[in-house]
Amino acid sequence: MYFQELISDSPLYRQKLDFEPTSSSVNIDLTHTEIFRSNIENIYSKFESDIKTLANVIKSQKKLIEYNSLYNAFLIDQISEEEFIKESENYTYSPQDIDSEVLLNKLTCLFKYTGCEFTSSELAEIFQCRQENIEESLRQLPNNSFTVATIT
């Protein structure tokens, strides 16, 4: 009876059925789909910004690795300087101005999850922004973090 009332109230439920062949009872757990979904969304939104930041870092590092391969090819004369300059256009970026608050969150996320040390020019390359932006945001980090962040 209760089960029917629930169903008539809202058609979307997630159910979990436990059935033991040797038992005469069946356990049914019901969770409202909206509640289930909102819980998942809450977890996702909590980490969404961090995931985006780290995904961008991975993409940036992949590009750098590819560029280094190209540079090595140039150094060992596998490609000419003209070819190198032409190919390197694929890896060239235009530094953008990023709001210091936004950048501070990205930097905090990067330091928190990687524990790595970066120089400000490396950070500017990773986030494709001006080095002045990085330095401004680093100054806002708590004491000593700035030192740690700039030592290679």
């Binding site: 560029y67 060239t92 530094p95 120089t119 020019s121 490396e122 390359e125 030192t147 290679t152």
Partner: protein, 125 residues
């Protein structure tokens, strides 16, 4: 003149670099140079950048406080530099009795700046 403080820089037509670790970085459009593409590199573990050939005319192109005279040099734990042409081949040869180091030259207008000073590292330790 030997410069060793963070932010001190040199500019020249051709710079000679020395370091233990050499990191090419991705090229970018430098807004202060009318968005031309520059080829940056980073030198670490005791980097040195010396002016081998002065700019002609001898006038800064990037930072008005840069040293511009032949043989002016910067020394630092980390040095960032860029040139408007790709920095060509480098030669590895003994730098001291025990260690080898990278020696190489830039080809055209080049800027180099101390990113981390040696004193900074010593103070940290």
């Amino acid at each position: 003149m030997v410069l060793t403080k963070i932010g001190e820089s040199v500019e020249g037509k051709k710079l000679a670099f020395q370091c233990r670790k050499f990191h090419p970085q991705r090229p970018y459009k430098e807004e202060r140079l009318d968005n031309i593409t520059v080829f940056p590199v980073k030198l670490t573990i005791f980097g040195i950048a010396v002016i081998d050939t002065e700019l002609n005319p001898k006038k800064f192109f990037f930072n008005k406080s840069s040293a511009l005279n032949k043989d002016d040099e910067i020394r630092g734990e980390a040095i960032k530099a860029f040139s408007i042409k790709p920095i060509p081949d480098k030669t590895v040869k003994p730098a001291t009795g025990r260690h080898k180091a990278n020696f190489f030259y830039s080809k055209d207008d080049t800027y180099a700046e101390i990113e981390i000073s040696i004193r900074h590292i010593l103070e940290k330790k």
